[in-house]
C-alpha cells in the first residue's frame, strides 16, 4: 500500500508533529526550493517555507481557497472551524464535483495535507482513542472487533452504517461525530453537539496545544522535499492516464469513463 515516498513522507510527518525537533531545515531548504520550483503555488510555499505550519497559516489558506472558489462563481460555504479548531473545511454546490479542484490545488493541496496528517494520533494515544471509540460503538449495541487498530474499527463502523438494522441510529451517528470525524475526516462539520477526543487530550508539547491561532506543526525539510517529489510523480502520472489506462470492472454502470 505504501510506496517508499509516501512512507517517508508519513514517517517524517509523524515525527515532526510529535513534538520532536525539526532538523536539517536550513540545509534542505534551498534544495527544497530548487525541487519545488514552480510546482508549489506561491501562497502555499509562503506558508510552508519556514518549515512550520501554524493554525493561522492553515486558516489563511482556507480563506484564500474559498475566496478563489467564490470568485469563480461557486456557491461555497466555509471555512468552518470545527473540533475546537482542529480542522477547517468547506462545501460547495455544483453539478461538477471537481469544480473546486483548481482553487484547492492552488491554495490548499500541500497545506491541507500537512495539517490533516499531523492530526492523526499515533502510538499509545492512538490505542487510547481506539478504546474510547470502540466503547462508544459498543454502548450503542454493536459488537466492534476487539483487536486491530483504529483503521479496522473505522472500517467496521462504516460497514455498520450500510446495515439497515443500524443505519438509522442516532447514537451511532454520535459516535461517528465524536471520534471518526475527529480522527479521520478533514471535514468534521456539525460537531457542536459532539465532544471531540482532542478536547480531553493532553498535548505532548507546547507546540501541540489545540488553540486556534497558536497551533504549530513543525515540518521537517525532508517532509516538504518528499511532498514535492510526490506531487511531481502525481502530475506525471495524471498525464499518462489520459491514454485510458484506467478501466472499470464488475459494474460498468457505476464507473465514469477516464
Amino acid at each position: 500500500m505504501k510506496s517508499l515516498i509516501v512512507g517517508v513522507v508519513l514517517a517524517v510527518a509523524v515525527a515532526s508533529c510529535g513534538g520532536s525537533a525539526t532538523n536539517s531545515h536550513s540545509a534542505s531548504l534551498s534544495s527544497l526550493l530548487d525541487r519545488v520550483g514552480d510546482q508549489m503555488p506561491a501562497s502555499q510555499l509562503s506558508a510552508l517555507r519556514d518549515l512550520e505550519l501554524t493554525y493561522d497559516e492553515y486558516e489563511r489558506a482556507f480563506h484564500l481557497a474559498v475566496q478563489c472558489m467564490s470568485d469563480q462563481g461557486l456557491e461555497v460555504r466555509g471555512p468552518n472551524s470545527e473540533n475546537n479548531g482542529r480542522y477547517l473545511t468547506y462545501s460547495f454546490s455544483s453539478t461538477d464535483s471537481e469544480a473546486d479542484s483548481q482553487c484547492f490545488e492552488e491554495h490548499l493541496s500541500y497545506v491541507h495535507r500537512v495539517w490533516v496528517e499531523s492530526q492523526i494520533p499515533t502510538g499509545a494515544e492512538a490505542d487510547r482513542v481506539r478504546e474510547e471509540y470502540a466503547d462508544c460503538v459498543h454502548s450503542v449495541g454493536l459488537d466492534p472487533p476487539t483487536d486491530g487498530d483504529l483503521a479496522i474499527l473505522e472500517r467496521f463502523v462504516g460497514e455498520s452504517l450500510r446495515d439497515p438494522t443500524w443505519g438509522n441510529n442516532a447514537a451511532l451517528d454520535a459516535c461517528i461525530r465524536q471520534y471518526s470525524n475527529a480522527i479521520f475526516s478533514n471535514d468534521p462539520w456539525h460537531l457542536s453537539s459532539g465532544k471531540p477526543w482532542s478536547a480531553t487530550r493532553k498535548p505532548r508539547s507546547a507546540s501541540e496545544s489545540r488553540q486556534p491561532g497558536k497551533d504549530v506543526c513543525p515540518i521537517s525539510a525532508n517532509f516538504l522535499t518528499d511532498l514535492a517529489q510526490l506531487h511531481t510523480l502525481t502530475v506525471r502520472h495524471e498525464l499518462t492516464t489520459q491514454g485510458g489506462r484506467f478501466r472499470c470492472f464488475d459494474d460498468s454502470q457505476s464507473c465514469s469513463p477516464p
Partner: protein
C-alpha cells in the same frame, strides 16, 4: 417452443442483472479499489477502499443534501490507511459518492461515481 423459452430466460437474466446492485470497483494501474455511498439517520457517507496492495492513497467525497441544497463535501483522503470513509453528519439526504485512488506507481485515477 425451445426458442421462446431461451428468449424468456435470457430476458429474465438480463433483468436480474440490471436490478441487482453490484459493488462498484475500479482499477488504476496496479491499484484495485472499490467504493460506495450511503445515507442513514442524518449521516451521508462515501467510502473508498483499496482491494489489493497496489494503492498508495484513496479519496472519497459525498454529494449530500442539507437545508434543501445539494452540496459536495470536501474529500477525505489518506496515505496512512488503505481506505477512507467520508462521514457527513447533519445531512438530509445523499445520492452520489466520488472515488479516486493513487497507485503505487503514481497512477492517479479519475473520480469515479457510485450511485
Amino acid at each position: 417452443m425451445f426458442r421462446r423459452l431461451a428468449i424468456l430466460l435470457t430476458t429474465l437474466m438480463l433483468a436480474m442483472v440490471m436490478i441487482v446492485p453490484a459493488a462498484s470497483g475500479w482499477i488504476a494501474a496496479e491499484c484495485s479499489f472499490n467504493g460506495w455511498n450511503s445515507f442513514s439517520g442524518n449521516t451521508a457517507s462515501a467510502y473508498t477502499g483499496a482491494t489489493n496492495t497496489g494503492c498508495d492513497a484513496v479519496w472519497a467525497r459525498v454529494h449530500y443534501k442539507e437545508d434543501a441544497i445539494w452540496k459536495w463535501s470536501t474529500p477525505c483522503y489518506t496515505y496512512t490507511y488503505d481506505f477512507c470513509t467520508k462521514f457527513q453528519p447533519g445531512a438530509d439526504d445523499a445520492d452520489l459518492g466520488k472515488h479516486r485512488a493513487l497507485s503505487d506507481s503514481g497512477g492517479l485515477s479519475p473520480w469515479y461515481t457510485s450511485y
